[in-house]
Subunit: 362 residues, 2 copies
């Protein structure tokens, strides 16, 4: 004697829409309509359905819904490294906005490795994401090919630049860097060390360009080094600081590079900021926690996240009238770590320095 499985009132299994329908004495169509407001349902049934849902503790299965509706409600978000606060800030805001529109975020961390990025993107695409937000880890990422093939709307953040077929949001790195370097030049610095990461990244390339432009205009001499992490930055910067003709200022192109540079500065024994100035991209809370407060170029993290989300949302809604490339401006935050160049290189040897610290500025 066969009994359709559905009919046995199994108790320890998650209720389905049919269980609700049966309990409420209506059809599954009605339950679905109550839930999604797709079409009008009479108040009496409306209530019966809601009661049944409450009673059974029903929670719809999005796998099934997504399969049928061809809309997964999932957005894939790929970042180069989630432990970097610039990225986690963006992620945080996007997650919030997405949740507000009933989307969820599948996170993929590429760990700054293009192969890994590609692998993660492919896995993501299997999930039928409705859209993708991507902070690429290489300038021209293989992953983009896969995305194109799957025809999933995607927006490129921070390091995107102009790649055909993708929307992109970034900041005006060129002007920001020029402004930062200009600040140093105006203070009187003539020899500046830029600590960059991978010049193949769009944003870094732009910063390098801005840096060079400023030096050229301001008659300064510059040196640029590329490091992949704080440890490498620390070593390389230290080496530069120990040269006879050392720079009087450092321009760190990311928070990570600032961290490495700072370690190097302390180890060099040079008075800071008296003997060496520092300015950094990425305005982090810790930069105003200990002295000297670090001068920075603040990127509008929230605005970046919001623009990225809004752009994607419009695409999801089929809106075609979107500026495909949007750029935001950074803000120069002058604090204590940038001062006029005081000591000269020959005084380098002095160590265990006494430092003058001013009152907190803000």
């Amino acid at each position: 004697m066969k009994v359709p499985k559905r009919q046995q009132a199994v108790n320890n299994v998650r209720p389905t829409i049919r269980d609700v329908a049966r309990a409420a004495g209506v059809s599954t169509a009605t339950v679905s309509n109550v839930l999604r407001g797709t079409r009008f349902v009479g108040p009496a049934r409306q209530k019966k359905v809601r009661d049944a849902i409450e009673l059974l503790g029903y929670n719809p299965n999005w796998l099934a819904a997504g399969l049928r509706a061809r809309r997964s409600g999932v957005i894939g978000l790929v970042v180069p490294d989630i432990t970097i606060s610039f990225f986690s800030g963006i992620l945080s805001r996007i997650e919030e906005l997405a949740a507000g529109s009933n989307y969820q975020i599948i996170l993929a961390d590429a760990q700054e490795k293009p192969e890994r990025e590609r692998e993660r993107v492919r896995a993501l695409l299997r999930r039928q994401p409705d859209g993708l937000i991507l902070v690429p880890c290489s300038d021209y990422s293989a992953a983009l090919q896969d995305i194109r093939q799957h025809k999933v709307p995607a927006v490129l953040v921070d390091r995107g630049g102009e790649v055909s077929g993708f929307d992109s949001i970034d900041v005006n790195n060129f002007d920001a860097t020029r402004e930062g370097a200009g600040h140093l030049l105006r203070l009187g610095h003539r020899q500046i060390l830029a600590v960059a990461t991978n010049p193949a990244l769009r944003n870094i390339a732009q910063r390098i360009a801005g840096f060079k432009a400023a030096l050229k205009a301001g008659r300064g001499r510059g040196q640029i080094i590329n490091c992949s992490d704080p440890v490498e930055a620390r070593q390389k910067v230290l080496r530069v600081l120990r040269e006879r003709d050392r720079p009087t200022a450092i321009f760190a192109f990311t928070e990570q590079m600032a961290l490495g540079s700072l370690r190097a500065i302390w180890e060099s024994g040079i008075e800071f900021p008296g003997g060496i100035s520092l300015i950094a991209f990425d305005d982090c809370e810790w930069m105003t926690a200990l002295r000297p407060f670090v001068s920075t170029l603040r990127q509008p993290t929230n605005a970046i996240a919001e623009k990225a989300w809004l752009t994607l949302l419009k695409r999801l809604q089929g809106n075609q009238r979107i500026r495909s490339r949007q750029q935001l401006e950074c803000t120069l935050m002058i604090r204590e770590s940038t001062t006029r160049p005081g000591r000269v290189a020959s005084q380098l040897a002095e160590s265990a320095a006494r430092r003058q610290t001013a009152d907190p500025s803000g």
Copy 2:
């Protein structure tokens, strides 16, 4: 004249398993078996199938697969605030491990709000996650009820404690705090301010208990304040530092509280660390970037993440032999921000202080 949709070779639509089957001249069952290695398939067909997959650029639809197999391949991860580096560190490691086992992470940020946490958890449960990893934002979270009801395996991290039906991983907060406070007491501090967050959180409650225990044993006097964010911490700490009989040391129970306390210290004008010592939970990179380097209690972030993932994975594999509660130890990192108490409260008025800084200790 009706034509079954399937038969029209639609070109601009993602290929399905049936397209592959047709192209390879086999059944869908065979394609599935080739893909998943479920059962043996003859080498000739094997190859035909693989070729067809390659040709069509087929990527399986996980929504459909998950629906059918009752296994979504998704893990829900709920954190109180992803911008806090302790949580993003854990997330980062878990994401990596999960990807290694072919799972993906749906991220939910509760923003330290229990209502929000519950809402996010419910949304997560609709996704049919195979498991959940949760850093709860309240001691006894309503969300846990929902999880129980859905019978999804879940592990509680950091703030879990012993909740029946859930595995949990945390650190020995009691001993760690006792050790930290003991360090201050041994230096000679007798009046210590603890800057805590929400005492309803398990881990914070344990830290408070450890703090009290240390004070009692060491004959110190303590004061505990609770703050919800750095701004509040800054204000409250500043107020305390301006009292006549002010503490000579501060114990910040989280990175956020350390940030707020530091702002207050600078604003108070008290010499630091000469006039006021500071020790903090959570060992962050920035704490050794600027002077004085901050003494901390380091939590083994990676180990926490790994244990959490491993525990969940075992549950997913049906392993029942799991210690339901696992605890890890913290490490006291003594640096420069904790010194013997020097100045007394009456000297508070002096400001624009000159500070002695030692060489970096490493």
